[in-house]
């Protein structure tokens, strides 16, 4: 039997300002007189969604901002009511409320544990049993009898997470609470979530923008877009689609950005004219196979002569993780540039990364190290691969397998 059944769920919100009493009275009068009333524009946060979740499933909900993820969770937690359709939940639901949402600054840590625990449905005895573990996990033994208003923000967040994950319910709802505290504590949180999910056989709904987390923790993923279910399948398939869509979005947005030159800082002595991506046959393209040579051709104009300047060309991911980069400063006798138009090619034998969208950056310094030009995401290109499955890795390296005397090349 399904633990959660969602049938044709639709939720509409009204757009625009709040109604004042004046408007309400006016509308009431119009209704009584039988005149048409002004309808405010409505917005569909969820649009006819249906799915079932079975016991023990760990489902990741992903989607861009405003896709309807949180609205959906609110319906499952019984916080809001559908405009139409039905949500049936068989079992107790425990929302991991936004860390620290229920904290009262004037109360001590210990008092807040009792308060928050009761709000989440524990009774006094259950809290008594768990309190030591909660305090220990939050690493707050020393400060537990100090008012929460004197806590650092990290301490408060740790306490919140620790209380939230100690509750007992059939269905856990987790909305973006995993990344709290410093790196060491984040690690601990992640392990705790994993043990909650994997060893206690609970039904879990996880909303996250951290797609890797969804890939790792979930047995199923649902991609929402503008209130509709776009894909409901294995995490790998769904996250692949998600990446594809968000990369397309970044590319579109990037086009607008370069037109306005927002991403460029410069002194004006250099002007970037054009960047082209060339494939192994020397033809301009936007799509490159990861196993073939890649050339980035940069054309620029200098307003004056530069004696042995430094030119840097590199690539980065859409989330600004730098991938490759090279500088003319590495050349033993680096070339000088005269005023005028120049064309430079930056060639890579191959670009062994997983399929996706990647960006180009260019920087130019004079021989004193003064920055003349710097720009990121100046051009994007799409990398395509031969292998079917993406995900769970960053590098796309050819691999050989030797298994029981057989050699396999993948």
């Amino acid at each position: 039997m399904a633990v959660i059944e969602v049938k044709n769920l639709t939720k509409e919100y009204q757009l625009g300002a709040l109604t004042t009493i004046k408007d309400s009275v006016k509308n009431l009068l119009k209704r009584i007189l039988g005149k048409p009333i002004e309808e405010r524009k409505r917005f569909k946060a969820l649009d006819n969604i249906s799915f079932n979740i079975e016991k023990g499933e760990v489902v990741g909900l992903i989607g861009t901002n405003g896709a309807g993820k949180s609205t959906l969770l609110k319906h499952l937690a019984h916080i809001t009511t559908p405009t139409s359709g039905e949500v049936i939940v068989n079992g107790t639901v425990a929302p991991l409320i936004e860390v620290g949402a229920g904290f009262v600054p004037d109360l001590t840590g210990r008092e807040n544990i009792y308060l928050n625990g009761t709000i989440m449905g524990l009774n006094r005895k259950q809290i008594d049993e768990k309190i030591d573990e909660i305090i220990e996990f939050a690493e707050l033994e020393e400060f537990i009898d100090t008012p929460v208003k004197r806590y650092s923000s990290g301490m408060a967040v740790r306490l919140g997470f620790s209380v939230a994950t100690s509750i007992d319910a059939d269905i856990l709802i987790v909305d973006e609470v995993l990344a709290v505290g410093d790196l060491a504590f984040q690690r601990k949180c992640f392990e705790r979530m994993e043990s909650l999910i994997k060893h206690q056989n609970k039904t879990v709904l996880l909303v996250s923008h951290n797609i890797r987390q969804v890939e790792r923790l979930c047995s199923r993923a649902i991609l929402l877009d503008h209130g509709k279910v776009l894909s409901d399948s294995t995490p790998i398939d769904v996250t692949e689609l998600f990446y594809k869509r968000s990369n397309e979005m970044i590319q579109q947005r990037q086009k607008k950005v370069t037109q306005k030159n927002l991403a460029i800082k410069g002194s004006g002595e250099m002007e970037l004219l054009d960047i082209t991506i060339l494939n192994h046959e020397g033809e301009p393209t936007d799509k490159i196979n990861c196993n073939t040579p890649l050339t980035i051709r940069v054309q620029f104009e200098l307003k004056e002569d530069f004696d042995k300047p430094e030119l840097v060309i590199g690539t980065h991911r859409t989330d600004f993780v730098y991938l490759s980069s090279s500088s003319t400063a590495l050349i033993e006798d680096r070339p000088s540039f005269k005023a005028g138009i120049h064309m430079v090619d930056y060639c890579l034998e191959h670009y062994p990364l997983i399929p996706g969208v990647y960006c180009v950056r260019v920087a130019f310094f004079d021989n004193n190290g003064r920055q003349v030009f710097h720009g990121e995401t100046l051009k994007t290109f799409t990398l395509v691969g031969d292998r079917k499955r993406a995900g769970m890795r960053t590098l796309e390296l050819p691999t050989k397998w030797y298994i029981e005397g057989n050699t396999y090349q993948v």
């Binding site: 019984h78 929302p95 229920g102 004037d106 109360l107 709000i119």
Partner: protein
């Protein structure tokens, strides 16, 4: 009805903890602590006693400060649980958007908080009674029932009011003002006996006197305050004729108020 009460019993621990939170937050960093809870009735008692010395209110044999304090206890309990109840839902916006439990818990919590302050009022009252040499009689057993009835009266207002306040914050602003004016329409400064005397015996309003008296007793607090004083000082059981009009009103309004609250509740998280 029974299901509703059962459901609330299941949440009694939450109500108590939230009420304890309200008390703790209010008095935690105050040196005088809970003593502040009785400041309001005590000051009002002193002011009214002072006013009485040059206005002249016919108050019978019972010492005026004692009489006024006993009137202020149920009155302030009613007034504050109603006006804090009205603001209680909006005050917990963060919880309402994050977690579900029956929302009527918030007005109930506001009332429970005031119940504790009322208990402190009883302590002061007993000191006053000892000072004036009044011993409670058997009729004191009516007091808990009178308080229970007062709770129902304040719920009439706080359930409906808190739901309206989610949509229109005007409610939370206006109600405390209206209620404080309402005090003068209740037998707080003057005893009910005075109203009875003027309207029923002296017939000061002519033909309208009896109707006016019924209208006056439609205010449930008129019956409550009089019954409270009677049970404590005059060895009297509550007088049904004074209580009845108000009770009928409460029995009509309370179900409506509760149903309105439950209907509005479903959209609290969207609107608040």
């Amino acid at each position: 009805m029974i299901a509703t009460i059962k459901n609330l019993l299941a949440y009694r621990e939450l109500i108590l903890v939230l009420a304890w939170k309200n008390i703790a937050v209010r008095y935690k960093q105050a040196y005088m602590g809970l003593a502040w809870a009785v400041l309001k009735p005590l000051t009002l008692m002193l002011i009214f006693t002072l006013v009485k010395t040059f206005v002249g209110i016919e108050s019978g044999d019972i010492p005026y400060p004692l009489l006024v304090f006993a009137a202020l206890m149920p009155w302030i309990f009613f007034q504050e649980s109603a006006s804090e109840g009205v603001n209680s839902v909006v005050a917990h916006t963060a919880l309402i958007k994050k977690i579900y439990f029956p929302r009527e818990i918030f007005p109930l919590v506001a009332m429970t908080t005031k119940l504790l302050e009322l208990a402190i009022g009883f302590f002061i009252l007993s000191l006053l009674m000892v000072y004036y040499g009044y011993m409670p009689t058997a009729t004191v057993i009516w007091v808990p029932l009178i308080i229970l009835y007062t709770m129902l009266v304040s719920l009439c207002i706080s359930l409906f009011g808190s739901a309206v306040n989610v949509y229109f914050r005007d409610m939370g602003q206006a109600l405390p003002v209206v209620l404080s004016l309402f005090m003068y329409a209740s037998p707080v400064i003057y005893p009910l006996a005075l109203v009875k005397e003027k309207l029923l015996i002296q017939q000061v309003a002519g033909d309208w006197s009896n109707t006016l008296y019924t209208l006056y007793t439609l205010n449930p607090l008129a019956g409550i305050i009089d019954a409270f004083q009677g049970a404590l000082f005059r060895n009297e059981s509550p007088d049904p004729t004074t209580l009845l009009p108000g009770m009928i009103l409460v029995l009509v309004i309370l179900p409506f108020s509760y149903l309105y609250f439950k209907r509005a509740e479903a959209y609290f998280a969207d609107v608040i």
